[in-house]
Amino acid sequence: MRPPWSWGHMMQKPFFALAYAIVAIVAVAVSAVTFEAQAAPHIPANGQQVVETVPRRGDPVQQELRRLRSQLNANPGDVALATSVARRFIALGRSETDPRYLGYAQAALQPWWQQAAPPPEVRLLRATLLQSTHQFTPALADLKAVLVAEPRNTQAWLTLATVQTVQGDYADATASCAHVSGLSIDLLAITCIANVGAITGKARQSEQLLDLTLERSANVPEELQVWAMTLLAEMAQRRGAAAIAETRYRQALKLAPRDSYLQGAYADLLLEQNRNAEVLTLLRDESRIDALLLRRALALQQAGQQQALQADVRELSARYAAAAQRGDTVHQREQARFELMLRKDSAAALALARKNWAVQKETADIRIYLQAAVKARDPAAAKPVIDWVASHHTEDLLTAQLVRQLQAGT
């Protein structure tokens, strides 16, 4: 669609250019009036004005946590109590996608945090918290140490396999998954193995195996079902079976409607099909979560809702700036996508994708790197990723298409 005005058109009629300039100055001045009142330190208009909402103390979850915390304060060296508090906060952090709770979890583990060799149950939680901020190297060290002490610790093997998969260490990840098989139900081990198999040249077999195992597994924990279904949906999506992927995403969302990873993955499927209205409905109340706000902005872009889009782009910029200010790098994958799709800055996107690639190597990381390289017309920059895709037999329709585009460009 042709925009109602363009720079070229304006340049033909210089006085329009000046008109826009003057209007812009006046408009900015007017908006500065409103902005001043909102974004500067101020005193609220009256005492009843609600300035902020906070978790309610009366909330049963918060109440229980407070009770446990005060017990822990009286007894900070109680390992069982400390790990129980930490586990609860980690669970809350995950369900709310709110990293502050991860900080509270770390506080519970404070007496052991700096120790070289804390008790295994503390060390496993420390690894979990470390990997959540992408500190993979110390996390791996902790997990391996836990497994030396407790070789039958299923959770430690699973977390280890996950970190190894994210880093692209597929041989070790498969070995870690194999350890799970003797320790727990089939579905857990198969999900772990299929997750690796699907991105190392055995996509079809992995999908069939996992699908069959899930079908035959009764009475498994809901979390595990959601994990398996999400993986199955992603596998179908990668091979272009959008309808099957959609059914699986919807099944999973029925069990875990507020799982932010799942919502993000489903939103991506809908965006691929230009179903932006559904994305906007799905993510209506999820703008607190950066990854989901990004999807909402992408949907607004598709829908051509410029005004709302600009507001979201500004908000995302502010959030990435705030993260950068504290030195966080956990957003690089999403931020690369933001730069590429919303700011149309392919050079910045490529730089971010490259930094992200040094840390994690999942299909989404491959995609954004190649997309940025295509837009930046820089096939040479994509070489490490193209080589990676070839040597690990990554099966993904979009990746294959991007690789072809890049190779045709050289």
Binding site: F16, A27, G47, G103, I289, R319
Partner: protein
């Protein structure tokens, strides 16, 4: 189109920003002058509530009254966890006003304070332990200014104590920093730009024999020179504290000057005396510039150089605007558009400036008048 664009902009400003989930941070700004430190510390209300409890009626909603009632507790708790010291010992920190501000993840309590240290600071040692026991992932993000130079630091439990050297700045760099601040201030100072443009709009529409580029140039030169002389004079006097005026009076008078300058294009008030008007109101604008410069802080050792640098920056910024304005306006002077700009444009400028005037003179918040 014009109204639509402005409407859109207003609407954008009114959209409540969504609040992010992010790890906890506080934003600490310190400005060091000699042995005195001026500080502002933005701490998330949610974190303060978790630490010391602010939501007294436990409804999950923090009202201004609930926060206000806990101001003493907030200041005590925060300042307990921050130690500022010089080589000769700890600085004495005194809390001042507390306000509210918004960051990406919600509303923050803004604690202003000042500190006096035993001796002028060569090195500022900071010990930061806020929330270290409750949330070890919390970080304190420091912005330190000294002699117009800014540095930053990040405090976290592993780096809770840091000594920040306050080096004597490079004189030339410092001068350039003040020039840049001057340029920047005039470019973002819409009131100054609108005042100047309103006075310059008629410059290309003079009667014969001045109805040519030379005539326009001379007229612009007169207005700009008068404005510059006047505001340089008061900028200097106010910066050196020879004269001081209350900022509310100055800011209101600046807004009023924009109203008059714009109305002058609709109904001649100054007639041939626009340079005199530029001089008269320029005196007021100078006080406005001075308040910015005083906020930036004038380094003791390089007072005159900084003052000159800032003034130079203001003039350079102003000349850039004039250099774009004059040829464009001259080129367009006979167009329908330019006539409209003179009338409708001036009316709009007058309207905006009236809003500013009401806000500044009567201390009205923008929301109250529906903006």
């Amino acid at each position: 189109m014009m109204t639509r664009l402005i409407f859109c902009l207003l609407l954008c400003c009114m959209l409540q920003p969504a609040q992010a989930h992010k790890p906890s941070d506080s934003y600490l700004s310190l400005d060091v002058q000699g042995e005195r430190i001026t500080g502002q510390w933005d701490i998330a209300l949610r974190d303060l509530d978790y630490a010391i409890g602010l939501d007294s009626d436990d409804d999950g909603k923090l009202t201004w009254d609930e926060i206000r009632n806990r101001h003493a507790a907030i200041a005590a708790y925060a300042l307990e966890h921050l130690r500022l010291s010089s080589e000769a010992g700890d600085c004495r920190v005194t809390p001042e006003q507390q306000l509210i501000d918004d960051h990406t993840d919600g509303a923050y309590n803004v604690l202003r304070f000042h500190a006096s240290c035993p001796q002028p600071l060569q090195t500022l040692a900071i010990s930061y332990r806020l929330f270290a026991d409750l949330d070890p992932q919390h970080k304190g993000l420091l912005r330190l200014t000294h002699n117009g130079l800014t540095s930053t630091a990040i405090f976290e439990p592993a780096h809770a104590r840091q000594a920040l050297p306050l080096l004597a700045p490079d004189r030339w760099q410092q001068f350039i920093a003040y020039v840049k601040d001057g340029v920047w201030h005039i470019w973002i100072g819409y009131d100054h730009i609108l005042f100047l443009l309103s006075l310059l709009l008629p410059a290309v529409l003079l009667a014969a024999p001045a109805n040519n580029l030379r005539g326009a140039f001379i007229d612009v030169l007169k207005v700009v020179t008068a404005f510059t002389l006047a505001h340089s004079l008061t900028l200097t006097l106010a910066s050196l504290s020879v004269i001081t005026l209350p900022s509310r009076l100055v800011e209101s008078a600046i807004a009023f000057s924009v109203v008059l300058a714009a109305i002058n294009n609709l109904y001649p008030l100054f007639r041939g005396r626009r340079p005199w008007a530029a001089f008269g109101f320029g005196l007021i604008h100078g006080f406005g510039f001075a308040s910015v410069l005083i906020d930036l802080g004038l380094p003791q050792g390089a007072l005159m150089a900084s003052l000159f640098g800032f003034n130079l920056g203001v003039e350079v910024g102003q000349l850039c605007i004039v250099a774009v304005f004059l040829p464009t306006a001259f080129f367009l002077r006979h167009s329908w558009f330019y006539r409209r700009l003179l009338t409708v444009g001036s009316a709009m400028i007058a309207l905006v400036a009236t809003v500013w005037f009401v806000q500044r003179a009567f201390d009205v918040q923008a929301q109250w008048i529906g903006l």
